[in-house]
C-alpha cells in the first residue's frame, strides 16, 4: 500500500513543485529523492510497517513476492533516473511533468504487483498505460514520436477494450471479480464455455501489452519512434511489471483452462522467440534491434507462465532485474551516441574505453553468458521448465534461439572493439555518468556470481 499511495501523492506534489522550482536541472534530484523515499517505504512494508491502514476488501493482497518486485522496480527506476535524467531534460519543455508521469507509472506498478481482483488489474494496467502514451509522444515536434504515440494509443486502447470484454464474460460466468474461484453450496463452481472465452480475450489483451507474438507488431515501431529515454523505461521496468500481473492472473486462472493452456502458451513462446530473434538479425539500427530483442526476451519471460512453480517465481524476479539493468545501461549509452546504427559504434573502445567496456558487460548479460546476471535469469527460467519433465523440447528450442541471439548482440561488441572508425558522441559524458555505468556493470557481475544474494530477500 505504501508504494501506491506515496508515489501518487509524491507525483501530485512534484507537479506543483514546478511552480516554485524554476531550475530545470533540479527536477532530476527531486525525482531521485522521491524514489529513494519510495524504496525505503516499500522495504519497510516488506517488514510489516504500513503508513496507511486501508481496508481494500481483499481487492489488493500484499505478499512478499509482489513487495519484493516493487523494490526491484523502484530501484531500477532510481538507477534509470540517475543515469538518464539529464536526457529527459532534453526531450521537451515540461521536464517536471515527464518525471511526474514516471511516478504515476510507479503507482500502477504497485497495483499490478498486488492485485487480487480483476477490477484492480484493469485499473493497474490503465494507470501504467495512459502516462506511457504521453511519454511516447512527448517529443511533440518530432513526427516519428507523434506517429509512435498515436499507434501506441490506438493499439493500447483497443487491447484494453478486448480485455474488458474478457472481464465482463468472466464476470458473467462466475459472478465476481475476485481471482479466487467462487464456491457454491455444492463445491467449487464448474468451468463453462463463457469463462474460457473470457480468459482467451484476457490472454490476447495481456499478450498485446507484453508484446508477445502474434500480438507484437506495434512494439518495434513504438519503441523506435518514442524518445530513447522513454523507450528505455517502457521496454524494461514497465514490461516486467505487466509480466508480474500476467503471471499473477494466470496463476489463479490457468487451472480452469486445463491442458489447452500449456499448448497455447508453448506455441506463443516459440513464435515470440522466433520472430524476436530472427527479425533482430536483420536490423541496421541498434535501437530497433533492441526493440526486437525486447520481444525475444519477453519470450523467455513467458517461461514463467508456462511452468508456474517456485523456480519460475525466483526466475521471473531475477529476469526482471537482469534484463532491466542491462537494457537500461545499454540505452543510457545509446542515448549519448550520435549515430544509433551499428556503424555508429565502430571504434568506440578506442575513444571511450569505459563506455565500451560497460556496454560489453550489459550485452553479455542480455545474451546470458555465465558470470553475468543474465545467465542466472535464463538458467532459472529453463530449469523451471526442466523440472516439469514434460516439455524438454521447449527448452531445446529456447537454447537454440539463445544461441541465435548471440549474433546480433555480438555485432555491437564487434563494432566497438574490432572495427576501425570514429564513434562520435552527441553530448559530452561526465565522470559521474561513467562512474554510474561502472557501478551498474559491477552490480550485474555481482548478481551473476551470487544470485542468492538477491533471492534470499524473497524469503527472509
Amino acid at each position: 500500500m505504501n508504494t501506491i499511495i506515496i508515489s501518487a501523492i509524491f507525483g501530485v506534489l512534484m507537479m506543483f513543485s514546478s511552480i516554485s522550482v524554476k531550475r530545470v536541472s533540479a527536477y532530476k534530484y527531486i525525482a531521485a529523492f522521491g524514489l529513494i523515499l519510495l524504496l525505503i517505504m516499500n522495504i519497510a512494508e516488506t517488514y510489516g510497517f504500513q503508513l496507511f491502514h486501508v481496508n481494500t476488501r481483499d481487492m489488493l493482497r500484499f505478499d512478499r513476492f509482489g513487495l519484493f518486485f516493487n523494490s526491484i522496480a523502484i530501484a531500477a527506476t532510481l538507477i534509470y533516473i540517475l543515469l538518464s535524467g539529464r536526457d529527459v531534460e532534453a526531450v521537451g519543455k515540461n521536464t517536471c511533468d515527464l518525471f511526474v508521469l514516471i511516478f504515476f507509472v510507479m503507482c500502477g506498478i504497485g497495483i499490478m504487483s498486488s492485485f487480487n481482483s480483476l477490477l484492480m488489474l484493469f485499473l493497474g494496467i490503465e494507470i501504467i498505460s495512459i502516462p506511457l502514451y504521453i511519454l511516447t509522444g512527448s517529443d511533440k515536434k518530432n513526427l516519428k514520436s507523434n506517429e509512435a504515440a498515436l499507434k501506441y494509443f490506438l493499439m493500447g486502447s483497443f487491447s484494453t477494450g478486448i480485455m474488458l470484454m474478457g472481464i465482463a464474460l468472466l464476470f458473467g460466468a462466475t459472478g465476481g471479480f475476485a481471482l479466487d474461484r467462487p464456491a457454491t453450496m455444492f463445491g467449487p463452481l464448474p468451468v463453462n464455455v463463457m469463462e474460457v472465452i473470457g480468459l482467451a480475450f484476457i490472454l490476447v489483451a495481456m499478450a498485446f501489452k507484453v508484446s508477445a507474438a502474434p500480438f507484437h507488431f506495434w512494439t518495434p515501431d513504438v519503441y523506435d519512434g518514442a524518445p530513447s529515454v522513454f523507450t528505455s523505461f517502457m521496454a524494461t521496468i514497465v514490461k516486467a511489471a505487466i509480466f508480474i500481473g500476467f503471471i499473477k492472473l494466470f496463476e489463479a486462472k490457468a487451472p480452469d483452462l486445463g491442458q489447452g493452456w500449456h499448448i497455447v502458451i508453448a506455441l506463443m513462446i516459440v513464435a515470440t522467440l522466433f520472430i524476436g530473434n530472427i527479425t533482430a538479425i536483420f536490423q541496421q539500427s541498434v535501437k530497433r534491434m533492441l526493440a526486437y530483442s525486447s520481444i525475444a526476451q519477453a519470450g523467455f519471460m513467458m517461461f514463467a507462465l508456462f511452468s508456474q512453480n517456485d523456480t519460475s517465481k525466483e526466475g521471473i524476479i531475477l529476469y526482471s532485474l537482469a534484463y532491466s539493468l542491462s537494457t537500461i545501461g545499454i540505452f543510457a549509452i545509446l542515448i549519448k551516441m550520435k549515430d544509433v546504427t551499428f556503424e555508429g559504434f565502430n571504434g568506440l573502445a578506442r575513444t571511450q574505453p569505459v563506455l565500451a567496456a560497460t556496454n560489453a558487460v550489459f550485452l553479455l548479460s542480455l545474451v546470458g553468458i555465465p558470470l553475468t546476471a543474465g545467465f542466472w535469469a535464463k538458467y532459472y527460467m529453463l530449469a523451471s521448465v526442466v523440472k516439469m519433465e514434460s516439455a524438454l523440447w521447449l527448452v531445446i528450442v529456447a537454447v537454440i534461439f539463445a544461441a541465435v541471439s548471440v549474433y546480433y548482440y555480438f555485432r555491437v561488441i564487434q563494432a566497438m572493439y574490432f572495427k576501425e572508425g570514429e564513434a562520435a558522441l552527441a553530448t559530452e559524458v561526465k565522470p559521474g555518468f561513467r562512474f554510474g555505468l561502472i557501478l551498474l556493470a559491477a552490480a550485474i557481475i555481482v548478481i551473476g556470481v551470487m544470485p542468492n544474494l538477491l533471492l534470499n530477500w524473497l524469503y527472509f
Binding site: 498515436l150 490506438l154 465482463a168 458473467g172
Partner: protein, 111 residues
C-alpha cells in the same frame, strides 16, 4: 426480458466496434469505435450484474452482493474519459504536424 437479448446486443455492438477499428482509416472514427467497444462492455456488465443480483437474492444472500458489476462500469467510464483526454491530445498533436488524421500515415514508420 431474458438475459441473452442483452448479451447478443452487447456482443453485436462490440463486433461493430472491432470491425470499425480494423477497417476505418480516420483516427477519430477508429477512436470512436474503441469507445463503442467499451460501452458494449458496460452494457454487458450491467446486464450480468442484474442477473447475478437476482440469483444471489434467490439463494438468500443479503444486501448488495452481485452488484459489483455496476461499480465496475463507473470505473470504465472514468478511465475512458481519461483515455479520451489523452487520445484527443495526441490526435490534435499529429494534426498540427501533418494536417491530416489518416491512419495510413502510420505506415511510414515501418522503415
Amino acid at each position: 426480458m431474458p438475459i441473452h437479448y442483452y448479451i447478443i446486443l452487447a456482443a453485436t455492438l462490440f463486433c461493430i466496434g472491432v470491425i470499425g477499428v480494423l477497417t476505418r482509416r480516420n483516427a477519430i472514427i477508429v477512436f470512436m469505435c474503441v469507445e463503442l467497444m467499451l460501452n458494449a462492455v458496460n452494457l454487458m456488465l450491467v446486464a450480468f450484474s442484474k442477473l447475478h443480483y437476482g440469483t444471489y437474492l434467490k439463494n438468500g444472500a443479503m444486501g448488495a452482493s452481485g452488484i459489483d458489476g455496476q461499480m465496475f462500469v463507473f470505473f470504465i467510464m472514468v478511465v475512458a474519459a481519461a483515455e479520451v483526454s489523452v487520445g484527443l491530445a495526441i490526435i490534435v498533436m499529429m494534426y498540427r504536424n501533418v494536417h491530416s488524421v489518416d491512419i495510413n500515415f502510420l505506415n511510414r514508420l515501418k522503415n
